[in-house]
C-alpha cells in the first residue's frame, strides 16, 4: 500500500505557473504521478504541461477530484494557500516552500488538526512512494520500489541514503521528508508508526540530525514496533551553537545532542549506522534475520 502517497493520490499543484511549480510538475509527471490540476489565481482556464489550471483549489477539487496538494508558493502566502486547500477538502498537503513564518506554521498545523488533514513540511523535499508516485522535488532516478521505508529530516542526506540503499538492491516503500523547520506537520514518530503498520514496509530507516528532540521521541515509538530500524544521525562533529543551515540544527542546552539521540535510539533497539553506506549493510543483515 505504501503510506501518505498511494494509488489514490490525485495531486493539485498550488503555484503551478511559477518557475519551481512548473519545473517540478514536469518532473512529477515524468515519474508517473497523477498531477490532475494546478492552481494559480487569475490563470484559470490555461494549462501547464497539459495539466489544467484553476483559479481556486475549490474548483480544482470539484472538477478533478484532487485530494493531495503540493505547494510551490512564496513563503508569505503559504498560510493562505494551505488554508484554502484544507477548506476545499484536500486531505494531504505537502509544503515545499522554505522560510514560512513560524507563526503561520502554527496556524496551519492547528487548522490541519481540526480538519483532519495530514501536513508534510514546510521546507520538505516531499514524499515518494517509488513505482507509484512522488509528491515532491526529490530526484526521480535514485529510488526503486522495495521493502524499506525512509523517514528523514533533511533532503539531500536522505537522497544519499536512498541512493546507497538502491545501489545495494534495497528498494523503498515510501520515503518521507519531514521538513527542516521548527514547526512541521508529520513528526518522526508519527511516520515511523505509519511505516510500522504498512504491509509493504519491512524495515525502517531514520535519517536524523542533531537539534530538537524528534529522534528521542521517535525512540519511544521504536521500542514498540516489530520491524528493524536503522538510524543515521548527522552532526556528530557539529560545533555547538552554530546554525547549520536551518533552525532545526541549533544545539541548545545540552538536549538534542548526537549522543543523546544515538543513546535513545540504540536503547530502543534501533541499529546505528556510523556512516551513510553502513545503512544498507545493517538493514540487509536485519531483514535476513
Amino acid at each position: 500500500m505504501a503510506i501518505i502517497i498511494t494509488e489514490e493520490t490525485r495531486i493539485v499543484v498550488q503555484g503551478i505557473t511559477g518557475n519551481q511549480g512548473r519545473f517540478h510538475t514536469g518532473k512529477m509527471l515524468e515519474y508517473g504521478s497523477k498531477v490532475v490540476a494546478g492552481v494559480s489565481p487569475g490563470k484559470g482556464g490555461t494549462e501547464v504541461l497539459g495539466v489544467p489550471v484553476f483559479n481556486t483549489v475549490q474548483e480544482a477539487v470539484k472538477i478533478t477530484g484532487a485530494n493531495t496538494s503540493i505547494l510551490f508558493i512564496p513563503a508569505p502566502f503559504v498560510l493562505d494557500a494551505a488554508l484554502e486547500a484544507m477548506e476545499a477538502g484536500i486531505k494531504t498537503i505537502v509544503i515545499i516552500s522554505e522560510h514560512v513564518p513560524l507563526h503561520d506554521a502554527l496556524k496551519i498545523m492547528r487548522v490541519a488538526q481540526a480538519y483532519g488533514v495530514t501536513v508534510v513540511g514546510p521546507n520538505t523535499f516531499g514524499v515518494i512512494s517509488p513505482g507509484i508516485a512522488k509528491v515532491g522535488i526529490m530526484p526521480n532516478t535514485i529510488y526503486q520500489k522495495g521493502p524499506v521505508g525512509i523517514v528523514a529530516r533533511s533532503g539531500t542526506l536522505s537522497y544519499q541514503i536512498a541512493y546507497e540503499l538502491t545501489r545495494a538492491g534495497l528498494g523503498q516503500s515510501t520515503v518521507v521528508g519531514l521538513g527542516g523547520d521548527r514547526v512541521v506537520g508529520l513528526s518522526l514518530a508519527e511516520v515511523i508508526l505509519s511505516l510500522a503498520r504498512d504491509d509493504e514496509t519491512q524495515g525502517i530507516v531514520v535519517v536524523g540530525e542533531i537539534g530538537g528532540t524528534a529522534e528521542e521521541e521517535a525512540a519511544e515509538v521504536i521500542r514498540h514496533i516489530n520491524k528493524p530500524v536503522v538510524a543515521f544521525i548527522a552532526g556528530k562533529t557539529a560545533p555547538p551553537g552554530k546554525r547549520m543551515g536551518h533552525a532545526g540544527a541549533i544545539i541548545e542546552r545540552g538536549r538534542g545532542t548526537y549522543q543523546s539521540k544515538i543513546d535513545a535510539l540504540w536503547n530502543a533497539g534501533a541499529l546505528i549506522a556510523e556512516v551513510p553506506w553502513e545503512v544498507p549493510v545493517l538493514m540487509k543483515s536485519a531483514l535476513v534475520k
Partner: protein, 373 residues
Amino acid sequence: MKLFEYQVKKIMREFGILVPQGEVFFDLEQAKNHLEKVGEGVVKAQVLTGGRGKAGGVKIFSNPAEGFKLAEAILKMTIKGERVRAILIEEKIPIEQELYLSIFVDGRIKKPVIIASKAGGVDIEDVPEEEILKLPVDPLIGVRNYHGNIVAQKLGLSGDLGKQLTALLINLYRIFETYQAELVEINPLVISREKLIAADGKMTVDDDARFRWPGDLPFNEEKTPLEKRAEEIGVSFVELDGNIAVMANGAGITMATLDLIAYFGGRPKNFMDAGGGANAEQMAKALDLLISTNPRAILINIFGGITRCDEVAKAYLTVKQQREITVPVVIRLVGTNEDIGVKMLQEAGVESFSSLREAVIKAVELARVGGDN
C-alpha cells in the same frame, strides 16, 4: 534573531508592561551625564548571549564615579566571545520576589507554550519539572483571561497581583504575536512595591517573518566579514578551525560530510551550505570565497536534487578559468544532470567522484599531503 535587553524593554514598555527606568548608551561619554543625574543604579552589559551576570556584566553602583568606572569596564568586556555593544543604565528596584515567565513556540506540540515558575532569577533549565507550569496556547485563540488565572495560581499571585499578571500575560502574548517571536522571556519577573516588573527581558524573533515586524529592528547578530560575504552570495557559511573547506548542498548532508571528514581523520576548516537550488553564478562566487580562506583542500559534495550537477561543474570551470586554483579540489557529483556535469569536468580534465566515501578519503589525504596543519 535575538534582541538586546534594551530593545526588548522598549517593546515591553510600548505594550504596557512595567520595566525599570533606564537608558541605553553606546559609548562612555554619552553615559557620563546620565550617571551624574541618576547617582546610583545598575549597569548592564548588552549582549545576546546568556550568562552575562556570572561573567560580571551586571554591576550595581552607588555613586556616579563608581558608575563611570563600571560602565567603562563593562563596555570593554567580551562575554562568551561576544563583545559588549552597549550598556543599559537602570534604576535599582527593591525586589520582594523573583518569578519566571515566558512564551515560546514548542515544535513538538506545535503550539505556543506559556512557561511559568515561582523560581525566577535562575536558569529555568535548573528548576525541577514539578515547579514549572507549561500551559499550551491554542494559536487560533491566543491568550485570554483564564490563562492568566491559571498562571497566577501557579505563581501564587492573587488579588491585585493576580490581575496584574493576567494583564501582563495578555500583553506579553500581544508582543509575541506582533513581533512574530519564537521566544519572549521575563526572568526575573519581580514583585516590587506591589507591582509586577520585568527586570530582564529576552526575545527571539522569527527572521522569516521580518516583513511583519512593526518598525525597523536593526540586525543584531554580528557577522564576520566572511559570513557577510556568504550572506550576500546567498549561501550559509560557518568558520571552524581545521584545514578542509567543504561545500555541500543541504544542512543534513553538510553535517554528514563534516562527520565523515572527522571519521577519516581530517579536520574541516569551514563549510558552506549551498542549500537547495543555488545556480552556477552563486556557486562560483561561493567557491571563490572558500578558496580565499586558504584551506589545504576543498571538498565539494553535491547530491543534485534541485541543485543541478551541470551547474556545479559550470561553476567550478568558471572559477578555474578566472583564477589559478592552487588548492586541491575534490569534486563529488551525483544526482540531477550528473552525466552532463561529469562529462563537462572530464572534458576539462577534471576528475570527479560518485562515491562519497572515496571523495572524503581523497580530500582528507590531500589535506594531509598539503602540510602538517
